[in-house]
Amino acid sequence: MTTTDFFNALAGGALIGLSAALLLVLNGRVAGISGIVNGAVEQAGIERLWRALFLAGLVLGALIYSRMVPDDFALRTELGWPVIAAAGFIVGIGTRMGSGCTSGHGVCGISRLSPRSIVATVTFMALGFTSTYVVRHMLALPI
């Protein structure tokens, strides 16, 4: 971790918090991305449209940054699609079952001191550490 990495993480985090604050104060909505993705698929009319626009904005915001800072990091290409698909499938079930992900529980829920979100965040962090540990150090897979 360099000093630049540290400030970028802090500033990037502040922007994520700002986005969550804007969505709530202006539109009354929680910036939980797993819920927004599900809603964009399942809802209709304006309920689908605002979520689709938020997600399009998510891509556009990252695209703007990548034009400002090209080749910020090397893209990963070595991880095979079966692992990616398995991980996505588990994340899909888990976020639906647990009603949220890093953004909804980790940022929005914790910032309003929701007991469910605090417990969920501690749980997914702990299992995230465990999962990476098992894959890298017990199974010694090159992930």
Partner: protein
């Protein structure tokens, strides 16, 4: 009164800010995420500061809402009301953590990653939607 066009513009603006933040903080880099989750390896604590940056700013937003009778452009707040801790929450969060630690993607970053490459995010998002819909179908 609900002001539809403004709501849509603000949702897009919030999305852009969020996506820019994910890229700036490098939350969208799965290698960086896995380096953060790899506490037994060469641990990289950088991403801890994403939460440290995000939570106070979001908390200011919630503090503002306590002084509002309703959101600026919407008729009411849509907030989760539940406070109980049940097995479903714990099991769901646990599964999410396992998947997150496997590939280094969570839902926001993997969508934002579509700005840089197609292969990984398309496979991940398709599988994620499948898992989510499967669970929804089972519990419906």
């Amino acid at each position: 009164m609900t002001r539809t066009p403004v709501i849509l513009v603000m949702a897009a603006v919030a999305g852009v800010v969020f996506g820019f933040g994910l890229a700036l903080s490098e939350m969208i880099n799965p290698r960086r995420v896995l380096a953060f989750l790899d506490v037994a390896g060469r641990w990289d604590p950088t991403l801890l500061f994403v939460m440290i940056g995000a939570i106070p700013v979001a908390a200011v937003g919630y503090a503002v809402t306590r002084r509002q009778s309703r959101p600026l452009f919407s008729e009411r707040f849509f907030l989760p009301e539940r406070r109980d801790i049940d097995a479903r929450l714990l099991a769901g969060a646990a599964l999410f953590g396992i998947g997150w630690g496997l590939a280094g993607y969570c839902p926001g970053p993997v969508v934002a990653m579509l700005s840089l490459q197609w292969q990984e995010p398309v496979v991940f998002i398709a599988a994620m939607l499948t898992g989510s819909q499967l669970y929804r179908g089972m519990t419906a």
